[in-house]
């Protein structure tokens, strides 16, 4: 690993993803699983759980950089809303490194719009 190295993860959530994630995570907020409710509160339809998208950012790091024990810290900001049946692209760049740790910047986009920004991770080397 070197400063400037990049990695990418692409994943397209299918139309039932939020139902499976709601069950797996315990977050049953109806904006994620009930199309009519989501529209009633002014959303275009059911939206992705932000923490599912953050899990994709985390997975991009652990798959590219050597496993779950390497991830010491991950911080993100959520923006806009993620939707199903559109590809999510996670990208990361190694920004700093010393003998023990690396700092990685990341974001996640859908159709070029950021749904996670200012991602920053610390990786144990």
């Amino acid at each position: 690993m070197d400063i400037g190295d990049t990695f990418e993860l692409k994943v397209t959530p299918d139309r039932h993803l939020t139902v499976r994630y709601a069950g797996a995570s315990g977050d049953f907020n109806p904006i994620h699983i009930d199309e009519e409710f989501a529209k009633q509160v002014g959303l275009p339809g059911r939206i992705l759980h932000g923490l599912w998208t953050m899990a994709q950012v985390a997975r991009a790091h652990t798959e590219a950089l050597g496993g779950p024990d390497k991830l010491e810290r991950l911080s993100v900001q959520f923006r806009g809303m993620g939707v199903m049946e559109e590809e999510v692209v996670v990208s990361g760049t190694v920004r700093e490194m010393d003998s023990e740790r690396a700092v990685v910047a990341s974001e996640a986009t859908q159709r070029g719009k950021r749904i996670i920004r200012n991602g920053e991770a610390t990786i144990r080397l």
Binding site: G23, A24, S25, W52, A55, E63, S75
Partner: protein, 146 residues
């Protein structure tokens, strides 16, 4: 509308979560993990773990219950219908595996107002049965105060 900062520092009752093998597999499948240490207990054991390993973001499963009382606490006064999840940070210690028992304490660490929005920050600290800190979470929720 001004936010109420009186509850800053308030800590909620500890929650205890028993980590199950099938729950880890269900979570790992829902977030698209491919690493067999999350999905196959034989593979996890062959890799030197006691059982399947929780992906780091499984922290949301064992820690979430510790902040729920704060989100609905009238003393904090979050307007839940207008709340969005603004930011999240996790810091991880030793990996969590099936069979672990995770105790989590949630605290309201900050309330502030900027640009007509209220910012409510909760921190969770989760420890395993050996009293090792496995995860510290910082959960920032934003409420439009209108």
């Amino acid at each position: 509308m001004a936010v109420n900062t009186d509850a800053i520092g308030k800590t909620y009752p500890k929650t205890v979560y028993a980590v199950g093998r099938e729950k880890i597999k269900e979570y790992a499948n829902a977030v698209g993990e491919h690493n067999p240490i999350h999905l196959d207990h034989d593979a996890a054991r062959a890799a030197g773990f006691a059982d399947v390993v929780a992906p780091p973001m499984f922290a949301v499963v064992y820690a979430n219950a510790a902040i729920l009382p704060g989100l609905f606490d009238p003393e904090v006064g979050i307007d839940f219908a207008h709340m969005v999840h603004g930011a999240q940070e996790f810091r991880w210690g030793p990996l969590v595996v099936a069979g672990d028992e995770i105790t989590t304490t949630g605290t309201l660490t900050d309330v502030s107002e900027r640009g007509g929005m209220g910012f409510y920050v909760f921190e969770t600290e989760s420890t395993n049965q050996r009293a090792e800190t496995v995860c510290v979470g910082t959960w920032t929720n934003i409420v439009r105060t209108g």
